[in-house]
């Protein structure tokens, strides 16, 4: 029988457009194939530096995001009670007039009464700037509940961080330690990197209570007890110090290991770095025995010294050794708490030392350090660490992450071959220079804020507190509650606003953050708070809520005014060096999104709306001299013409009138065209001599200063010992003009330790023996939080999350596979269905995050498994800790305010009934929503058929 004749060379598309994916935060380059103006296919861009052609499941499902029935179709104004989901469709003119009316009076009287918070927002360079122009300090994105512990610990130690400000040297590392890494940032590069390591035979060790994903393919899986990673790391440090397996030369020359710490108990300078009159840190010169300013010379790393003024001081490394050589940090001492055998910890130390110091790779790459000394080569330390939420989302995460960086520094494994490397624009000064703005003198009605809302305090005088210690920000970031809350505290905003603590607000303005569901802790209570009223007046405690989202998420029903956003394929966007770029260790890079489709609904890109509102409100940066709009072309106009500082704008590539300048240069009206022509990204490689030891590399630092990545070319000395933390601690001891209130003193004294230490997270401590199981969530690789819930393909992969329980634990509790259980925590209980597994720490249960949905949302039918079998663990995670001694704190890291959602402890009880509990009333579809199709035949036109 003859085979059919096939036409195998049909063109895949009429047109292919490049842009940047936004199905998660990874920022991969994509090529979108369009046929008859319809989406045919989305593939990874092989030329793109982030993904080099590969694309994950989420990215490949972009078509179904674009076709999701849950897309909002027009601006909405609430008509029924808040939370009823009753709206009427309004025009953009009306919507913008309402928003302008509400916001104008706030700005004219007390700009703080606007709280503007965004979610996984990649336009923070704009949204933060807009908040500052408006004049409110009450701005942040979602970092406070994401991974600020990771970012802050890195920026206060290395001037970069795990996550997106640095990455392992995938090409050369021989030993990779993954700590608390699930499907986290950044997804495709990690997968590519792991495959590369495996192909080379490098060892991958995963420290994680759950054996899925990356942990499944690791050579060794270490099921640690959640929240004890710091103990493991400090025990490894104990072992390395005990054996002297440290890089003394690296420490001496490129870190503050030799800096002298004043030893003057009770004095105001105790624990501060000894400095000369010009503020230069002092060290003791080994050869001459005298105290001199630090250069990269021959600093002593041990020995008590008398300073010229008679005070005593000791080098940082001596304090480090004294602390961690203590038996309290020995493997035997931490084994029980971590759940890892002492022998395993000792063996890990052997392996790490061998990988770091035995025949390390040496690159014959000359470079020049900041003092002008020429080095013929760069010696590698092929041990790399990557850590993520398993470390960050605990109330001890900042200090644990500092411990990880201390380990890297002792090994000399920062920005050398085989180690973790800085991704540009990092390294930054430690910490980066800007301070948070929001002091009384920095704001006034009708005026922009004198600075940006987020920044990096280096001492109590940088806090945003009133003289009596009252927080000046609504979320209490940068107050004594959380002095280094450098990403803000989105998770405290709603409760604080309802309580009027520290003050009431008028308008809560949210962008793409699902605060009535998976972006909130204590979700049930948060939903109540959003509708709370004043019993005397009946008015809502939060008088007005404006929300912008592209989809019908749970939060929509709680807004008074809904501004519908476009999808990521319908708008311009900017992946900016001023925000979170597509960094690389070897190149200056940023990227854009361009619209590849025109919206078929009455929706507008949120960034355009924000710029329009900025002009309507008369914000100076958005208003031209003649009173007209400064950026009549909206966001793309802004991207090309806005200058944050002279010559520096949102995009670094093709600046200058001729498009020939990098980083700094006058605006180029053809800039976006150049990006489009280059696949929507810009990449300029560093010269080979600039690529390593960037923190102290003269040629790199000069370049970075020249193109505006850093203010000047001063060396960035890595900080084992954190002096800013000690400054806060001294304030708690009664020194200085800005001191914590009595209720906060003990807390600041304890947690602001300038050297990393471990403590049991608060919620774990509180929960006690009644709740013996740790309960965690993780993100599935095919779903980004709740973003994929409305996606017809992705929900076929994950539509009903189970609670994963270890077989032995289930047997002990009399539970069988598929049983329904109550997950009981100190806050309440949630019903869920269990799945038995072996690849989990026996005292840990876990589920996929944000699969469970509220009925009626996301364009799903009321009987969708997301609502009938899925569940949300957030209901059990408290956003605060019970008050003690009159003070109540967020359930968060005491240093950064990071939400501690991995500290949850629960017990399981067999449930007789099935189905969701708690179970809310279904939400109606928004007006104008078309009924979801019963059948999808996407692609049928390819065979001459028709769309249904």
């Amino acid at each position: 029988m003859a085979e059919p004749v096939l036409d195998l060379s049909r063109p895949t598309a009429d047109e292919v457009k490049t842009t940047t994916c936004y199905m998660c935060a990874c920022r991969c380059g994509i090529r979108v194939h369009l046929s008859d103006g319809r989406l045919r296919y989305i593939e990874g861009n092989r030329r793109h530096p982030v993904n080099r052609g590969v694309l994950c499941a989420k990215g490949s499902a972009g078509i179904m995001q674009q076709l999701a029935p849950s897309r909002l179709r027009a601006p909405l104004l609430r008509t029924g009670p808040r939370g009823s989901g009753e709206f009427r469709r309004i025009s953009w003119d009306e919507a913008l007039a309402i928003a302008t009316d509400w916001l104008r009076s706030i700005r004219a009287t007390d700009p703080r009464r606007l709280a503007f918070f965004t979610g996984r927002d990649q336009s923070q360079a704009l949204t933060g700037f807009w908040a500052a122009q408006f004049g409110t300090p009450n701005y942040a994105a979602h970092g406070g509940f994401c991974s600020v512990n990771m970012a802050a610990a890195g920026l206060y130690t290395l001037g970069g961080s795990f996550w997106e400000f640095g990455e392992p040297d995938w090409e050369r590392t021989r030993y990779l330690l993954l700590v608390g890494v699930a499907e986290d940032h950044d997804s495709n590069p990690i997968k590519r990197g792991l495959a590369e390591l495996k192909a080379r035979g490098a060892k991958i060790v995963s420290v994680n209570p759950v054996r899925t994903g990356y942990s499944a393919i690791a050579d060794e899986w270490l099921p640690i007890r959640p929240g004890t990673d710091g103990l493991l790391i400090l025990a490894l440090i104990h072992e390395l110090l005990r054996a002297g397996r440290i890089d003394a030369s690296y420490l001496q020359r490129w870190t503050n290991a030799g800096w002298l710490v004043v030893d003057a108990p009770g004095e105001a300078s105790d624990g501060l770095i000894a400095r000369d009159a010009e503020g230069r840190p002092l060290v003791r010169d080994r050869a001459r025995g005298i105290v001199v300013p630090f250069a990269s010379g021959d600093a002593a790393l041990h020995g008590r010294t008398t300073l010229p003024d008679g005070r005593h001081a000791r080098p940082v490394l001596e304090l480090v050794a004294e602390r961690y050589l203590d038996a309290a940090y020995s493997p035997d001492a931490v084994a029980e708490r971590t759940g890892l055998p002492a022998a395993t910890i000792r063996r890990l130390a052997v392996e790490i030392a061998a990988a770091a110091f035995t025949d390390p790779p040496v690159l014959e790459q000359p470079w020049t350090d900041w003092t002008g000394q020429r080095h013929a080569r760069v010696e590698g330390r092929p041990v790399a660490i990557h850590a993520m939420r398993g470390v960050a989302a605990h109330a001890n995460g900042f200090q644990t992450c500092r411990a990880l960086h201390l380990l890297q520094l002792l090994l000399g494994a920062v920005d050398v071959p085989g180690a973790w490397r800085f991704k540009l624009p990092h390294p930054k000064p430690i910490p980066p220079a800007p301070k948070p703005a929001g002091k009384a003198v920095q704001m006034a009605p009708g005026r922009p804020l004198a600075g940006m809302p987020l920044g990096y305090p280096t001492g109590p005088e940088d806090l945003l507190v009133d003289p009596d210690g009252t927080p000046r920000r609504l979320d209490k970031a940068f107050s004594w509650d959380a002095p280094l809350a450098v990403h803000g505290m989105l998770h405290t905003v709603i409760r604080n606003a309802v309580r009027g603590d520290p003050y009431p607000i008028d308008t809560l303005f949210l962008y793409m953050t699902n605060m009535a569901w998976n972006s909130a802790m204590s979700t049930a209570e948060t939903i109540d708070l959003l509708t709370a009223t004043d019993p005397t007046t009946g008015a809502y405690r939060i008088p007005r809520i404006i929300y912008s989202d592209a989809f019908h998420s749970e939060m929509v029903a709680y807004a008074d005014l809904v501004l519908p956003d476009t999808t990521y394929l319908e708008r311009w966007d900017c992946i900016s060096l001023l925000d979170r770029p597509i960094g690389s260790p070897d190149a200056i890079q940023d990227a854009i999104r361009q619209p590849v489709l025109a919206p078929d609904r009455d929706v507008r890109p949120f960034q355009d709306v924000l710029i329009d509102l900025g002009h309507r409100l008369g914000l100076p940066a958005f208003t031209a001299a003649d009173g007209g709009p400064r950026f009549p072309g909206g966001y793309p106009d802004y991207l090309q013409h806005h200058e944050r500082r002279p010559g520096i704008g949102p995009l670094a590539g093709w600046r200058g009138a001729a498009g020939d300048k990098i980083g700094k240069g006058e605006p180029n009206p053809a800039q976006l065209e150049r990006y489009r022509a280059n696949g929507c990204f810009f990449s300029a490689p560093l010269a080979p001599e600039q690529r390593w030891m960037k923190h102290v590399n003269r040629d790199y630092l000069k370049l970075a200063a020249q193109i505006g990545l850093i203010d000047d070319a001063a060396p960035i000395v890595l900080q084992l010992y954190s002096e800013p933390l000690q400054r806060f601690r001294l304030a708690a001891r009664g020194h200085g003009a800005v001191r914590p209130p009595a209720s906060h003193r003990a807390r600041i004294e304890r947690f602001f330790d300038p050297l990393p230490f471990w403590y049991r997270p608060f919620d774990q401590e509180l929960s006690g023996d009644a709740y013996p199981l740790h309960a965690l969530t993780q993100r599935p690789m095919a779903m980004y939080h709740s973003w994929g819930g409305h996606n017809a393909w992705l929900r076929q992969l994950h539509a009903a999350n189970r609670l994963h329980v270890h077989r032995a634990t289930a047997a002990r509790l009399g539970l069988a596979d598929d049983d329904w259980v109550w997950i009981v925590g100190r806050l309440g209980r949630v019903r869920a269905r269990i799945r038995l597994v072996e690849g989990v720490h026996p005292d840990t249960v876990w589920t996929w995050n944000a699969i469970g949905r509220r009925r009626g949302t996301a364009g799903l039918s009321g009987d969708a498994p997301e609502a009938t079998e899925g569940f949300l663990l957030n209901h059990l995670i408290d956003d605060r800790l019970p008050a003690t001694d009159g003070a109540e704190f967020a359930n968060a890291d005491p240093i950064t305010g990071q939400a501690a959602w991995f500290d949850l402890l629960v017990r399981l009880e067999k449930a007789e009934a099935r189905g969701p509990s708690p179970d809310w009333a279904p939400l109606p579809a928004p007006p104008g929503a078309a009924p979801p199709p019963r059948v999808l035949r996407h692609g049928a036109p390819a065979r001459g058929g028709e769309f249904p």
């Binding site: 029988m1 989305i42 490949s60 055998p341 395993t344 690849g839 979801p932």
Partner: protein, 246 residues
């Protein structure tokens, strides 16, 4: 019933799937769905896409298993991507009553001629690997085509002429090539890594090969290893000073 090619195809195009690096991310699953719903077998329909039991036709699925090696050793989580293996003795072809299922004589790819398919499902019963799916709307059988409209598509640049699942895989766990040519990179990978057939005892001679997950470490050696205390006079500081020289 339908015949296989009278002589073995000169080329045996297929996939080599690396179970050592597959992280179960489902990238291949969705890129396959995406390409093929508008490609040769278009469409791959979905039923109740926003309802109670969303389901649809997929040509490639990934399942996760927890494995406890016989005879003890370290338990593992293994992700197992499953699609048509383009068998040499393809029972799905020989069982087909209409001639719709066929194996190409030139390259061994097993395809369905939908014009002849009556949706009887016999091929799916015959396939021991569960690799065929009946399209719930079209009523015809759908299966992996190895992206035949990519690999031979002359409108695509040479480097893009590979199956969508291979192009998208972030962990580089999927490789495409001619398994009949021992010099092909795919065949060499199979030789080097001990690639194996799924259920060879059944005699279907699948073309696709799987590379085994490497054994994981469990526990510690006996005697246990530990770093020695720092050697020489002066303890840690004596050692540090010697490291620094001078």
């Amino acid at each position: 019933m339908t015949s296989l090619p009278p002589t073995p195809p000169p080329r045996r195009l297929g996939l080599v799937i690396d179970l050592d690096t597959c992280v179960g991310c489902q990238a291949c699953v969705v890129s396959c769905k995406q390409w093929n719903t508008g490609g040769h077998p278009a469409p791959l329909s979905d039923v109740e896409p926003y309802g109670r039991e969303p389901s649809g036709a997929w040509l490639n699925r990934v399942h996760g298993y927890e494995v406890a090696p016989a005879g003890g050793g370290c338990g593992q989580t293994v992700y197992f991507p499953k699609s048509c293996l383009h068998c040499e003795n393809a029972a799905c072809v020989t069982v087909c009553p209409t001639g719709a299922s066929y194996k190409r004589a030139a390259d061994g790819i097993v395809l369905v001629d939908e014009a002849k398919c009556i949706g009887c499902g016999l091929c799916a019963w015959a396939c021991p690997y569960g690799a065929r799916e009946l399209d719930p709307v079209e009523g015809v059988m759908k299966k992996c085509t190895l992206c035949i409209d990519r690999i031979y598509n002359e409108t695509l640049p040479e480097e893009e002429r590979e199956p969508a699942c291979v192009a998208s895989c972030p962990a580089r766990a999927r490789h495409f090539g001619d398994l009949a040519d021992p010099a092909s990179p795919a065949a060499r990978l199979v030789a080097a890594r001990g690639g194996f057939d799924l259920m060879p005892e059944l005699g279907y001679r699948p073309t696709n090969k799987y590379l085994p997950p490497r054994p994981r470490r469990q526990g510690d050696e006996d005697p246990p290893r530990a770093l020695p205390d720092v050697a020489g006079p002066g303890g840690l500081w004596g050692w540090v000073d010697r490291l620094l020289g001078g």
